[in-house]
Symmetry: C2
Subunit: 529 residues, 2 copies
């Protein structure tokens, strides 16, 4: 037996095999491998996939260090019974494995550190906290290679740790060019064979997802979408064809630790697919993804029912044109899962309201969402800054938001894990008890005091130790903050737009007056050591 | 019989009488006069009121030109049976009588000109259109006389045609001083006699309301409010005392054509008064106001049920901190009456979110509200621009909004009377049919085309002749507007912040591309003559 290969934990191990090229191996050949951890006996069976020219592969992402053995199974004798071994070393720095729901990963003290927030938070599978700060480049892997390279280069210097990206090309405003390669064999002229994939297309996608992984960026892979051309037709394949494609994607990409599955963008703009179709598609992805990546789907208008158990989190497009990421408070209540507002409107100047926000307004939406315990995704849609529009093509970023998102990440990276929105109910309707409205003799409880104090602004709080208040479009000359009795506190004045943190001199008790005087301010109050 | 007095139509005619000063004439003496139009025979009975020192008055506002006669009735023989005559001349320029609901005033062609918008609009009783552009100076008549004079001077040059003002003094942040005069006999030290009014206080109020009338400003008189001191106690009078006061107010001020009645500010902060109390109070005002002025009430949190028949219109404080005047679309649907958002937040820098908006944000709320067929009220709360804070004391204005409100009035004065929000339902939830989401073969109707075209921005439209679109915080580089077939159109680009109107060269047909490129823009499209 050959010497075992070493790979790192959460790395990608690939078995390459050669078998039949007769018939249609994409459809006809069954192939899988079972990987067994020699220490624990834990076994993982992974489906393989065909790559053309008689080449087959099986990809495995080990989640435990130590020695693993594998053996293949196939109805092609040439592929059946191949075996081998690998040694899994500890993960290298920066490799934390998949992003999953914190509630599905953590136990004991690590879990307790999140308090009730555990339901709404993500983390890496090694327990490292993860807060998504995504961006949107729908068709970046369908652009010319140099544009793809420039996108990767831009991402190296950008603050994003997730990217929303389609597999199929996109036909939409400012983005109607045909790509050089398609996912299927065939052509626009002669049609595509939805039972045979184009290996060159997927090799490029492999490489791009791996590049994202190297950058620490989660690839939120959008499997289906409606921005199609009749000559492409990928939005109107049969249900069987969709399933065939989905299982191929899940087998081919499941071993990339940085993959998330988004069944569709604007699923409701694919009206020929029913809600039951989406549930079936989720089942297919789950059956073929041996590594249980995050799964969701993204709406245009009717919000998907994220209570369905296959959805690991919400991936929502805001549906009210005014109240956007503020609704995260509602969505947390309704779905009880992590909430990502993946389309809060974009910075840019395209003609539609979803893509002509100022940097200030997009950053307000980022903060309003994060203050309510959710996550917000970036996009950029300047139509007069060169050939590429970031949201569609990638290329370069031009807006004011990315630098502010980097600053914002720094603030929220420092937030306690159990920092909780003070009273999310206030966001839906301003229903808080008001002192003078209560029956005479009513004693205000601390809870009602807090609610009155902060009826107008969102607050994240961790016990009596830490509080963050965000003022958004408000411009108070100053604000008085009551402080918990018995403690001394340090106070940071945060200018979220100018990206400054100014700590007030000294420590404070009882209450503190904080001068503000401009928009986009936040105040952080920390218990002094 | 004496020569008849001449007054103008909608003017104020006062009968002054002398009667008993024994006992408590405020409470004990019944006094009224019946005015009869000698031509039509129309009769109006008006209640009188006591002024102290044996002086009584009855005030009448004739709504028809020609000769009127009156005769008094009283249980004091000295006041009973006094008679006289007056000749009512046509109203002078700028005197259009009371503001009422257009639906209650107009008939025939004048009514038809409003289309279905009639339900949501005001006009003067002579048919002249009236759109409220109010401001807020709660306690201005309770300030020192020179401050009151300065307020009047400011209003002369301000764009406001309505003012929200309390009768009783106000105790609240930045406004806790005791006034020089109170509405009642008595003192803070010895208490007030809620059955005896202080004539000097009311003479000042008479004069101030008359000054507003001279300026063409409606006095939206707030009869009760919760911002009280224990030593004042005007918010906690008995129900009988409240009724006594309300009937006095309605008799004394009903003949001022510029009066509106607001039963209370933040009625729900007076929890010792029940909803049935408010209905009773409305009945008392209606019974004693011979001239049927507009009536409403203003909430803090729970919005009053403006479907109650006594409410002529909505006077709403927005209850969602994010979606403010956009809710006017909902409120029109729910109440079917004119909607004034009397508290959308104010320009200023006070510490609370209701009063620290930038001028840009307040103007956005003004426009968002007007574009949805409602009205929005101004307020100003700078706490660092001198002793007076406009919203409480009056004095001077410091903000950026007033000049922009003047500009806005000019735009909306020119709007067709039947200009109607395109699809108000879109404001609540973005529920519009999307072409690609419809079953294949579905033919889009013009209505759905329109809804798609304008899902993101509010539109006012009058048939195929006129359209106004407001872009608010959006910043499109340009927008393409489809134009109705067969017409040629002129296009105005309106910068609502910089207060400019730029008309594009020439006329346009089919569609027109309008360059925009910055925030707070509107586009007006007019059919060319």
């Amino acid at each position: 037996m050959a010497e075992t290969t070493h790979i790192e934990r959460y790395g990608l191990y690939e078995i390459d095999l050669t078998g039949t090229s007769l018939g249609n191996p994409y459809a006809d050949v069954e192939l899988s491998a079972t990987f067994t951890h020699t220490g624990s006996g834990k076994a993982v069976t992974v489906g393989g996939f065909y790559r053309g020219d008689g080449r087959y592969a099986i990809r495995f992402m080990p989640d435990e260090t130590g020695d693993w053995r594998y053996v293949t199974a196939s109805d092609d004798p040439a592929l059946d019974g191949a075996s081998g071994a690998l040694t899994v070393d500890p993960a290298s720095e920066g490799n934390h494995g998949r992003v999953l729901r914190a509630a599905d990963v953590l136990a004991g003290e690590a879990r307790a550190a999140y308090g009730d927030e555990i339901a709404y938070r993500f983390c890496y599978e090694d327990g490292t906290p993860y807060q998504p700060y995504g961006t949107t480049c729908y068709a970046w892997t369908n652009q010319a290679p140099d544009v793809q390279d420039r996108t990767v280069e831009t991402l190296k210097h950008a603050p994003f740790n997730k990217i929303r990206m389609c597999v199929f090309p996109k036909s939409y405003d400012f983005n109607t060019a045909d790509p050089a390669m398609f996912a299927y064999e065939g052509s626009m002229e002669d049609g595509f064979d939805h039972s045979r994939f184009n290996e060159a297309f997927f090799e490029n996608l492999d490489r791009r997802i791996a590049q994202l992984q190297d950058l620490g960026i989660e690839a939120d892979v959008i499997l289906l979408h409606p921005y199609d051309k009749p000559e492409w037709g990928f939005s109107k394949m049969t249900k069987a064809e969709d399933g065939f494609y989905l299982s191929y994607m899940a087998r081919r990409y499941g071993a990339y630790r940085n993959v998330w599955w988004s069944l569709a963008n604007e699923y409701d703009l694919l009206p020929h697919k029913t809600l039951e179709d989406w549930r079936d598609y989720a089942r297919i992805v789950m059956a073929n993804d041996a590594f249980g990546h995050l799964r969701s789907v993204h709406n245009c208008i009717p919000i998907y029912d994220y209570n369905e158990p296959w959805c690991t989190h919400c991936s929502i497009q805001r549906v009210d044109v005014t109240r956007t990421t503020e609704c995260i408070a509602d969505w947390r209540r309704v779905y009880g899962k992590p909430v990502v507002c993946d389309e809060p409107g974009y910075e840019g100047n395209i003609y539609w309201g979803w893509g002509n926000l100022t940097g200030e307004e997009l950053m307000r939406r980022f903060w309003e969402g994060a203050m309510r315990g959710g996550y917000v995704t970036h996009g950029e849609t300047f139509i007069d800054k060169g050939e590429q529009v970031w949201w569609a093509h990638g290329g370069e970023l031009h807006g004011d938001a990315p630098a502010r998102i980097a600053f914002m990440r720094g603030i929220f990276d420092q937030a306690p894990l159990d920092a909780t929105p003070l009273d999310a109910r206030m966001d839906a309707r301003r229903v808080w008890p008001v002192a003078s409205a209560l029956p005479e003799g009513t004693v205000l409880t601390p809870a009602s005091e807090k609610a009155i104090q902060y009826w107008d602004v969102p607050v994240l709080r961790s016990g009596d130790d830490w509080q963050l208040t965000y003022f958004g479009w408000y411009r108070p000359a100053y604000r008085e903050f009551p402080l918990p009795a018995g403690g001394r506190y340090e106070v940071d004045v945060i200018d979220t737009w100018n990206m400054t943190v100014e700590t007030l001199p000294g420590t404070h008790e009882g209450s503190v007056r904080v001068d503000l005087g401009r928009q986009w301010m936040a105040v952080r109050i920390r218990r002094a050591a």
